[in-house]
């Protein structure tokens, strides 16, 4: 249980999938214009991550270990999980976004690289999903507060979102020391 909680806390803070691993940036730059949009996009990915982790957990020893074969395997599992997510959440999202979700595929690859086994898949996915969701909502909130701020025109939109994410990431790095 303590191991599970360690994984959970580690993936939310010191191993945050967006701010520390740099995944899910497509959603971060496109779906954080409003908090509502961030919640909807985040929910789909969260469900996709949990579905992907459950698939890996159920497959157990069948999961390939050779790098060249597992690469394709994890991308396909990610594609299946991402395609299932909108049906489970009953939401309509951009098809281009949800079928090839980098946060989801990246999470599966990180679990493979880290040698995550069995039920730890679920702990890892829950932590990563929560960390991802929280970051999306926080950035959307900051972005809304910045609407009236005198930001130079060239920095508005995607550049300022990336800079905000970078500063948040630097803050999280402090927990690693």
């Amino acid at each position: 249980m303590i191991d599970g909680l360690d994984i959970l806390i580690g993936t939310v803070i010191t191993g945050n999938i967006v701010l520390i691993h740099g995944l899910g940036l497509y959603a971060l730059t496109r779906y954080t214009k409003t908090v509502d949009g961030a919640v909807r996009a985040g929910l789909n990915t969260v469900v996709g991550m949990l579905v992907g982790a459950i698939i890996l957990w159920l497959l157990g020893d069948i999961v390939p270990t050779s790098p060249t074969s597992y690469l394709g395997f994890y991308v396909i599992v990610g594609f299946v999980a991402a395609s299932a997510a909108p049906y489970l959440t009953r939401q309509n999202t951009s098809r281009e976004y949800h079928v090839v979700d980098t946060a989801l595929i990246g999470l599966l690859l990180l679990m493979a690289e880290g040698g995550v086994m069995g039920v730890d898949h679920l702990w890892y996915a829950m932590g990563a999903a929560f960390g991802y969701f929280v970051v999306l909502v926080i950035v959307a909130t900051i972005r809304q507060r910045l609407e009236l701020a005198p930001i130079p025109k060239a920095l508005q939109g995607t550049p300022i979102v990336l800079i905000i994410a970078g500063l948040l990431g630097l803050a999280l790095l402090g927990f690693r020391l």
Binding site: Y26, P67, T68, L71, G72, V75, I105, L167, L172, L173
Partner: protein
Amino acid sequence: MKVFWESVFKKNPVLVLAMGLVPAVAITTTAHNGWVLGISITAVLLASSIINYVLVPLVPSTSRVALRVLVLIVLVVALYGLMVHKRPGLVAGLGVFFPFMVADAFRLQSSENQPTFGQVVLEALGQGVGFIWALVLIGLVREFLAFGSLFGKEVLTGVLRPLSLASGVPGGLIIVGLLLALTRVINKQGGELHD
């Protein structure tokens, strides 16, 4: 040729369309990584565009997304296998996130309006060249700031590294954000509407 040059500069996939952000931030910590990744993405983009041009009209519209993803997965896995076999050192530098080019290539090719074969090839080549120069530029800036070197050659010998955080993801996010803003200044674009 207009399609080609537009994809290289005016509609650059990384610095204008902000498409390949994960490779730019998570993988491109050196100019060499950017170069290898750019070449790989160009090969995948070109091959998948040609295959899709031939295959996509033959399948029902409901299965086209799955087909396009499948084509990309096969190409990326084949390229990865080839690189592991021929140049394992190249792959080691790119790490676990190599398959993300599936996502970037898929999103770049989402338009189904493909008038002629020549235009499809030119657009894919233009996007590939756009990826290469943008990723190499990002890699150069990050490598210089983080390690004081350019393409592995030390240029700041005996000097304190200016910003070692540039090789990490948070530093990468800030640098890529600033380069995106700089591109907008050069292109005289910008503002929330530009997104």
